[in-house]
């Protein structure tokens, strides 16, 4: 191979128009003085500290404590406090961000009702309690297809449900943010809150997977290469 002197491969196949737009708007806002580069850095670092652990904990607590479960399904924002998430006061802005409105709804699955969450408009996601959404959650492919062909999409995630189980898609297109409280699986009798929280993965909280004893990570997603990737260098072949 005589390719060692080539430029390194690009980090990503494609930079979307929206990413370029975000950078342009951000730089203009900084120049205009709406916020500083430092403000932006603090906010970005803050959101990257968030993850799905509080939501896993919320579900585990609810499985063990029927009173807490009732609170979780009636007032998600209040129930979040018990797992260290204050929707109103924690984020730097102290009123949520425009895309993290302070209205969490916990959707309770039953043996005959399975919830799954999508935002068809863009990417609404309960970030204060779940962290950043996975890349696939934001793709037009998932958003467009889940509302119309939920069973097919869930099957692609390895989740096949019988017709007796009603699938309910929750499309978060206004100010409510949703998370799913799955059914506690068999084989977890006598487990502690820590043990239970471990099997409530991010995918279970979005609703594309169900918790299973022994499974503590999200399934690997298939990688779909860009159809028209960016060629930054002509190999001249």
């Amino acid at each position: 191979m005589s390719e060692h002197d080539h430029k390194p491969a690009p980090m990503v196949d494609e930079v979307s128009d929206f990413e370029i737009l975000e950078m342009a708007v951000r730089e203009l806002a900084i120049e205009k003085g709406l916020f500083s580069a430092e403000d932006h850095r603090i906010w970005t670092e803050y959101v990257h500290t968030l993850g799905p652990l509080p939501a896993s904990r919320l579900v585990a607590k609810a499985w063990l404590d029927p009173k807490y479960k009732k609170l979780a399904v009636t007032d998600g924002v209040e129930a979040s406090k018990a797992v260290g998430v204050d929707w109103v006061n924690s984020p730097p802005t102290k009123f949520g961000t425009p895309s993290d409105y302070c209205n969490l709804r916990v959707l309770e699955d039953t043996p005959t009702l399975k919830h799954v969450v999508v935002c068809t408009l863009c990417s609404c996601y309960p970030r204060p309690i779940l962290g950043q959404s996975p890349e696939w959650y934001r793709t037009p492919n998932y958003r467009r297809r889940l509302v119309r062909w939920p069973r097919q999409v869930l099957a692609e995630f390895g989740l096949q449900l019988p017709p007796e189980v009603q699938i309910r898609v929750a499309d978060s297109n206004q100010k409510t943010r949703y998370m799913v409280m799955p059914v506690r699986p068999e084989g977890t009798e006598g487990w502690t809150e820590d043990q239970l929280a471990e099997i409530v993965t991010r995918d279970c909280l979005i609703g594309v997977a169900v918790p299973k004893p022994g499974v503590t990570s999200n399934a690997k997603r298939p990688v779909h290469k860009a159809i028209h990737p960016v060629h930054h260098h002509d190999h001249g072949s």
């Binding site: 209205n103 408009l121 069973r151 017709p163 309910r168 898609v169 100010k175």
Partner: protein, 123 residues
């Protein structure tokens, strides 16, 4: 005539800080027109500039599951018009009522999403 020559960008922050949004609009939506369990049809209103009412729901009939909060409608709030909050409703639809080709085998499947009051009418 006095006229502000600059838009008040801090208006939202000043009403929502430490209270939360949509909490800051609580009690400002008036008397709700619909209640839990009501059948509603989604209107097909023009949405020239901005809307969060998905086209796939227009004209469909669903059932109100919950009155969720009060807030300015997205069509107003996108222009920072926050003086007319209205009630928001969570509505559940049969998937078969949204997508004509949805399989009969899965006739129980449903979809739930939210609407501001202006989008709803009695079927």
């Amino acid at each position: 005539m006095s006229q502000k020559n600059q838009h008040d960008r801090n208006h939202h922050a000043s009403i929502a800080t430490s209270i939360g949004d949509p909490q800051c609009f609580k009690g400002k939506g008036g008397t709700p027109k619909f209640k839990e369990g009501d059948s509603v049809r989604i209107k097909d209103l023009p949405d020239l500039f901005y809307s969060r009412c998905q086209v796939y729901t227009r004209g469909a009939v669903g059932r109100v599951t919950k009155l969720v909060y009060e807030s300015p409608a997205a069509e107003d709030e996108s222009w920072d018009n926050t003086d007319k909050p209205e009630w928001f409703y969570s509505v559940v639809f049969k998937q078969k009522d949204l997508w004509p080709e949805y399989g009969d085998l899965y006739a129980n499947d449903t979809l739930e999403t939210e609407f501001s009051e202006r989008w709803l009418e009695k079927p």
